[in-house]
C-alpha cells in the first residue's frame, strides 16, 4: 500500500474540472488545476474531466501531453470521465483524424455513440468498485467498441462496458462528478501510485 495521495491534478483546459475539484475536496484531497506541463509536477494522480474532447485535444500543449504519457507509464494513476475516457483511448472512432488521443489504455472508443443530447440520460450503475449501485449521468457519452484482454470491466450498463480499468488507469463513460456520490473518486484515490 502506497502513502495516501495528497495532491491530485485535474486537467483544466476546458470542461467540468470544477466539479472534479469539488469532488476531491469532499474526499479531503487537494485538487490542483493542470493546464501546462509545470502544473503536473507536484501531483500524485491526474483526472481528465468531461468536456469536449476535440477542444481539449486541440488546447493540450505537446509538452504537457508527453509529460502525462510519461508519468502514466511510470505508474501515475489516471481517471478519465466521458471526454476524459476518449482522451485515454488507444483509438477513437467518430473522432477527427487530427485528434490524437493520449493512448493510455488499450481500448477503442466511439464518440457520441448514444446519439445527440436528447438521448443523454441519468441512471444507476452497479459495480464492485463502489460496493453496489450508484448514480451515473451519461451526456453525449462514448461507448467502448474494442478492448484488449488487459482491461477489467468494472461496470456494465445496457449490455455495454461503461467502467474500465487497466492497472491504475480508470475510464468511465459517465460523470460521477455531476452527482453527490463520491464512491468512484474514493475508489480512484485507493489505487496504488508510482514510486516517487
Amino acid at each position: 500500500m502506497s502513502a495516501p495521495r495528497r495532491r491530485v491534478g485535474v486537467l483544466a483546459l476546458q470542461g467540468d474540472f470544477r466539479e472534479h475539484l469539488a469532488a476531491l475536496r469532499a474526499c479531503e484531497v487537494e485538487g490542483i488545476p493542470v493546464r501546462l506541463a509545470a502544473d503536473l509536477e507536484p501531483v500524485d494522480a491526474l483526472i481528465l474531466p468531461g468536456g469536449e474532447s476535440t477542444t481539449m485535444a486541440r488546447l493540450m500543449d505537446p509538452v504537457l501531453k508527453t509529460a502525462i504519457q510519461q508519468r502514466s507509464a511510470a505508474g501515475m494513476p489516471v481517471l478519465g470521465t466521458c471526454a476524459g475516457m476518449i482522451l485515454m483511448a488507444r483509438d477513437v472512432q467518430g473522432g477527427r483524424a487530427d485528434q490524437e488521443p493520449l493512448q493510455l489504455m488499450d481500448i477503442k472508443i466511439r464518440r457520441n455513440a448514444y446519439g445527440r443530447q436528447i438521448d443523454s440520460f441519468e441512471t444507476e450503475v452497479e459495480s464492485r468498485a463502489i460496493g453496489g449501485s450508484g448514480p451515473a449521468v451519461f451526456i453525449r457519452a462514448p461507448q467502448l467498441i474494442e478492448r484488449s484482454s488487459h482491461i477489467d470491466v468494472l461496470a456494465v450498463h445496457g449490455g455495454l462496458a461503461v467502467a474500465l480499468q487497466q492497472g491504475n488507469r480508470l475510464a468511465l463513460a459517465f460523470h460521477p462528478e455531476l452527482t453527490p456520490d463520491r464512491r468512484w473518486h474514493q475508489y480512484f484515490l485507493s489505487l496504488d501510485g508510482e514510486a516517487r
Binding site: Q14, G15, R58, R116, F121, E122, T123, I139, L178
Partner: protein
C-alpha cells in the same frame, strides 16, 4: 451482452442531464456559424459547440426585417458537418420553433433576443422540453426568471452584432455584483430582495447559498477579440459565445483559435499577448450610443 433490460431505468431530459451538458461546455467558446463550412472551421479551431443560424447578428442588425428561426435544412447540414454539439436559436416565446428545433436533434436551444420576439409577455415554458435551453439576461432577476421557466444555462445579452463588449461587461457585472450583495443576507431580506428584482425566492436563496447562479453562466454579445474573451472570464463567467466576432473578422480561423486559447488561459497575459498577435482586422464594431434605441436588442425579453 447486447440485450437491453427493461429494468435499466434510464431517465432522459431530466434537469441534471440538461444542466449537465452546459457543465461540459464550461471554459469553452461557442461560435455562430451560417454554413457547414464555417462550422468545420469553428470545430477545427477548438469550439466546444456551434450556434447554427442563417445570418450572424451583425447582418440581422444591418438588414432589418423580422428575424426568425433558421431554415431546418441549413441546421441539419451543420449538424451533419460536425461532431461537437449544435445549438440553434428560436424567437422569444415561439414554442413551435422550439418544438421544430427539438425534432431536428439540436443539442441546445437559444431562446434569443437576437431574433424578433414572437410574444411580448411570455417566454417559452422550457420545462416542457427534453432538450435544454440557454437564455440571455441583463441582471440577476432576469437570469432567475429564465431559470424558473426552465433555462438550464444563462448568458449575458450584451449587445449582439456590435463587436462592442461594453454591454456584456455591464450585464456580467450586474449579475455578479447582485450575487455578492446577497452574502450575509437573512432569509427575510432575501424574500424582499426577490420581490424587488422579480425573482423566485427559492432560486434567489439557492443563489445566495452557492455564491453564484445555480446554472452555468456564459458571456455573449459583442465579444470580438481574445482580450474581450479573457476580460469576461476574469469577470467571472464560465465560457464565451462569439457571434459576429469571428466570421466578420479578416481571418476567422486564426481569430477563432486565439479566442479559444484566451478563454482557457484567461489569467495569463503572456499567453494572451502571444495569442493576440497577427490576427488581421477584427470586425469593425459599433458605438452603442450611435444605435437608435428601438434597434437595441438587449431590451427584448422581460
Amino acid at each position: 451482452m447486447e440485450e437491453l433490460s427493461p429494468a435499466l431505468n434510464d431517465r432522459r431530459g431530466t434537469w441534471r442531464v440538461k444542466a449537465g451538458l452546459a457543465e461540459m461546455l464550461k471554459g469553452g467558446v461557442i461560435m455562430d456559424v451560417v454554413t457547414a463550412e464555417q462550422a468545420k472551421i469553428a470545430e477545427d479551431a477548438g469550439a466546444v459547440a456551434v450556434m447554427a443560424l442563417e445570418r450572424v447578428p451583425a447582418d440581422i442588425r444591418r438588414e432589418g426585417g423580422v428575424a426568425r428561426m433558421s431554415d431546418p435544412g441549413l441546421i441539419t447540414a451543420i449538424i451533419e458537418a460536425v461532431t461537437i454539439p449544435v445549438m440553434a436559436k428560436c424567437r422569444i416565446g415561439h414554442f413551435v420553433e422550439a418544438q421544430i428545433l427539438e425534432s431536428l436533434g439540436v443539442d441546445y436551444i437559444d431562446e434569443s433576443e437576437v431574433l424578433t420576439p414572437a410574444d411580448e409577455e411570455h417566454h417559452i415554458n422550457k420545462h416542457a422540453f427534453k432538450i435544454p435551453f440557454v437564455c440571455g439576461c441583463r441582471d440577476l432577476g432576469e437570469a432567475l426568471r429564465r431559470i424558473a421557466e426552465g433555462a438550464a444555462m444563462i448568458r449575458t445579452k450584451g449587445e449582439a452584432g456590435t463587436g462592442n463588449v461594453v454591454e456584456a461587461v455591464r450585464h456580467m457585472r450586474a449579475v455578479t455584483g447582485a450575487i455578492r450583495k446577497l452574502h450575509g443576507a437573512g432569509p427575510e431580506e432575501l424574500v424582499m430582495e426577490a420581490k424587488r428584482i422579480g425573482a423566485p425566492a427559492d432560486l434567489l436563496e439557492e443563489t445566495a447559498r452557492l455564491g453564484r447562479l445555480p446554472v452555468v453562466n456564459f458571456a455573449a454579445g459583442g465579444i470580438a477579440t481574445p482580450a474581450d474573451a479573457a476580460l469576461m472570464m476574469q469577470l467571472g463567467c464560465d465560457g464565451i459565445f462569439v457571434g459576429s466576432g469571428i466570421f466578420k473578422a479578416e481571418n476567422p480561423s486564426a481569430r477563432a483559435k486565439a479566442i479559444v486559447a484566451a478563454t482557457t488561459y484567461f489569467d495569463r497575459p503572456d499567453i494572451l499577448a502571444d495569442a493576440s498577435k497577427s490576427l488581421g482586422k477584427a470586425m469593425r464594431g459599433l458605438e452603442i450610443g450611435a444605435i437608435p434605441e428601438e434597434e437595441l436588442l438587449a431590451g427584448r425579453g422581460w
